[in-house]
């Protein structure tokens, strides 16, 4: 299956809903004001958020008034264009070749799938013949370390860990040291899930970051925020707050398969402009795929990838 097909399958539900709604609204009728309200409804239902939806719909309306939109297909084409334009600036990949060891610090609220994502990421790097080391900095949640260890065993790589309840910054320190000593290419640090509103937990995160910087200059090279596509408008608050506290450099969106509403990537691109690195479209190991503005916009609204 090509990458595009994977995204398409993952976003099938969102897309179907969007298209049926738009078609239902517009089909057989001349396009009028009501049609745009229907499009607005479809976008909001896809979690695109009120503000971004308003802007997208306004630009469509503008085109319609100028006579550039006449049919349902025109709306579809215009949507794809507008969304791709919106997403293109946030299509940037993690520059793992730029440093050695390249240190990735992952963060996110509880239950977004951090540990699973780390396993998938580690697998990607391992496949491209990089030496990968994992650091188990989630010392809070019961059995989080064990969870990472199970993955490491399957992927045949090492984990740096301490006991449950120990200082996560100390684990980060040891892991960074070990990465240097062992000639590791990519070090990925798992951390405990934390709601972005908890001041003390954000402070803990800053401490982890400081410790890493002290050990390797310029590290962590990537502060990767993992967000759950099932979450609604709160993702915006998550991205904003984590960014203010830690200067995140990239985002991975998980659980985009089947259930999710891919639309919330739009306000992230529109309001926050932080690169989306990967999207998770399934439970299998290779279901974490690089984000592509072109594929994503087409998978969301259209059928064929343009070649």
């Amino acid at each position: 299956m090509s990458l595009f097909d994977k995204i398409k399958n993952g976003l099938a539900r969102t897309r179907d809903q969007l298209r049926t709604r738009i078609e239902w609204v517009v089909k057989g009728k001349p396009i009028d004001e009501d049609a745009f309200e229907g499009i607005e409804e479809a976008l909001i239902l896809a979690d695109a958020g009120f503000e971004t939806t308003e802007i997208l719909v306004a630009s469509l309306k503008e085109k319609w008034k100028r006579g550039q939109i006449k049919t349902t297909e025109d709306i579809q084409t215009s949507m794809i264009e507008e969304v791709e334009k919106l997403l293109l600036p946030i299509e940037r990949h993690i520059p793992t070749d730029s440093k050695k060891p390249f240190v990735i610090l992952t963060i996110g609220v509880n239950g977004v799938g951090k540990t699973t994502t780390i396993a998938k990421l580690a697998n990607i790097y391992r496949t491209s013949k990089k030496k990968v080391l994992l650091g188990a900095c989630d010392t809070f949640r019961a059995a989080a370390v064990e969870q990472l260890e199970v993955w490491a065993k399957r992927l045949d790589m090492d984990v740096i860990k301490h006991t449950e309840g120990s200082d996560p910054a100390a684990v980060a320190y040891d892991a960074t040291k070990a990465a240097k000593a062992r000639g590791i290419d990519v070090l990925i640090l798992d951390t405990a899930g934390r709601l972005h509103t908890k001041v003390n937990l954000m402070e803990e995160m800053k401490k982890i970051k400081r410790v890493i910087t002290k050990e390797v200059e310029g590290a962590p090279h990537e502060i990767l925020l993992i967000i759950d596509a099932t979450n609604g408008q709160n993702t915006i608050s998550q991205v904003k707050t984590f960014h203010e506290a830690l200067n995140i450099t990239g985002i991975v969106v998980t659980k985009l398969d089947g259930t999710a509403k891919g639309g919330f990537i739009l306000p992230i691109a529109h309001l926050l402009k932080i690169p989306i690195r990967y999207i998770g479209v399934g439970e299998k190991m290779d279901d974490l795929i690089p984000f592509s503005a072109r594929d994503f916009s087409r998978a969301l609204f259209g059928d064929k990838p343009e070649t």
Binding site: A143, Q147, K255, K261
Partner: protein
């Protein structure tokens, strides 16, 4: 954020325009309804649910004499609020564990919604009520999920049933039931693997677990941050498996939790509990009127007072009062006070529970205030016990040492000492003359 004020402001201005009309009509309240719609959508209330809801509000508004009120905007919001409470279920429905033991309670939900943690919280709650719960681990898929439940059980001192080598959730349920009967457990809390509602195979698996267990309560665990899809998730689980109630998790964040309305509206099932923190006692009964305030962004004073009551120790408070009366209030007590305050949460989270939070937002630098408190704590912590109890012995030399030890400047220490002395003086006056004494003092200034 600051949503509610924005909403109120916008509503007042749309109604101002309407004043001249004398009578509300379908067409002239369109703008007001739109404002409420935006508020609901921004809180993640499902689009269709919001639409139906506003239809109802419209009828109510047109039937009532809103315009003659001095503040029609507020009147309008009151109607919205009442309707929201109505929709959310009016009163709290408690957990039902009646029946012959062992009473099964089945938890299900998507990946990462917080099932395992909630299972632990429920077990603690039941144990506190004098029941003897058994946690049953049937998540055979996620790595270390069973270990997680076993560890939680150990922390809570609640028994956990698991079969290490079994990959069959149904078989685990069967043996757990026999085990519970034999060992006198009266409730079984069955944790299940996270699953997508559209994954038919997995949904069937949990449906079979349900068929076998015949649980008194089948509870859907759902993340309060869930977006528009909450409706689809809840409907699917309710239709394919059947649920009796809902537990909403992760409400300690800043989500407005519109998902609550959506789920309630489409399933008609009560929300029984809300998860409000990572600690295992952070599970509260659901209160519709508080949720309604939250969704509209109105603040939540009731919860704040409750939280304060929990955190503050009555005996400690009495001791403190005595100390103040005898003029024995020390820097050590001062530090304890700060610590207790901190237990309530960050300053911003406390303030945000007040209605009208909007006015503070942006004008107060919370992180700076937060830093100030930390500095004070650090300074006091760098004093010896003797210095904390007998602050008058703190001379210049000691101040230099304290400043060094706490990473602050001598000026900071000086300022703190001054503040403390003033506070103490104030307290003395308060206790001596009571309220009258204080009034007198204030008037004389």
């Amino acid at each position: 954020m600051a949503m509610f004020e924005k909403l109120q402001e916008r509503l007042e201005s749309t109604f101002k325009k309407l004043k001249g009309y004398g009578k509300l009509s379908e067409t002239n309240i369109k703008d007001s309804l739109r404002e409420v719609r935006i508020a609901l959508l921004e809180a993640d209330v499902n689009y269709k649910v919001a639409k139906d809801f506003l239809e109802k509000v419209k009828e109510k508004v047109l039937g009532e004499d809103v315009l003659s009120s001095i503040t029609p905007g507020q009147q309008f919001i009151k109607i919205v609020y009442n309707e929201l409470c109505e929709l959310l279920g009016k009163v709290n429905k408690p957990l039902d564990v009646a029946g012959s033991p062992p009473v099964p309670v089945l938890l299900l939900g998507l990946q990462g919604s917080g099932k395992t943690t909630t299972a632990g919280k429920l077990a603690l709650l039941l144990r506190k009520k004098g029941r003897k719960p058994l946690l049953v681990a049937t998540d055979v898929y996620r790595p270390a999920a069973i270990d997680q439940l076993i560890k939680l059980g150990a922390q809570l001192n609640v028994a956990v049933f698991s079969l290490k080598d079994s990959k069959d959730p149904l078989a685990i349920c069967r043996e757990a039931k026999a085990y519970a009967m034999k060992n006198g457990f009266d409730t079984m809390i069955v944790d299940t693997a996270g699953r997508l509602h559209i994954d038919d195979g997995m949904v069937e698996e949990v449906a079979n677990q349900k068929k076998f267990l015949n649980p008194r309560e089948t509870l859907l665990i759902i993340d309060a941050m869930t977006g528009q899809d909450a409706v689809t998730i809840a409907t699917a689980f309710n239709e394919k498996v059947g649920i009796d109630g809902i537990i909403l998790t992760k409400l300690d964040g800043d989500t407005r939790g519109g998902a609550a309305i959506s789920i309630r509206a489409v399933t008609g099932k009560p929300i029984k509990f809300i998860g409000v923190g990572e600690k295992l006692d952070a599970l509260e009964p659901f209160h519709p009127e508080r949720m309604a305030s939250r969704i509209l962004g109105m603040g939540d004073v009731v919860s704040l007072v409750e939280r304060a009551q929990e955190v503050f120790d009555e005996k400690q408070a009495l001791d403190l009062e005595k100390k103040i009366r005898k003029d024995e209030f020390t820097l050590e007590d001062f530090k304890d006070q700060i610590k207790q305050m901190r237990k309530l949460g960050s300053m911003e989270s406390i303030i945000s529970m007040f209605p009208g939070f909007n006015k503070f937002k942006g004008t107060i630098d919370f992180s700076a205030a937060e830093k100030d408190i930390k500095k004070t704590e650090a300074i006091i912590s760098s004093m010896t016990r003797r210095e904390q109890v007998y602050p008058h012995i703190i001379d210049g030399n000691r101040r230099v040492r304290i400043a060094k030890g706490s990473g602050t400047k001598v000026q900071d220490v000086n300022e703190l000492m001054k503040k403390f002395m003033e506070t103490k003086k104030m307290m003395k006056k308060l206790t001596k003359g009571g309220l009258k004494g204080l009034q007198k003092q204030l008037l004389s200034k």
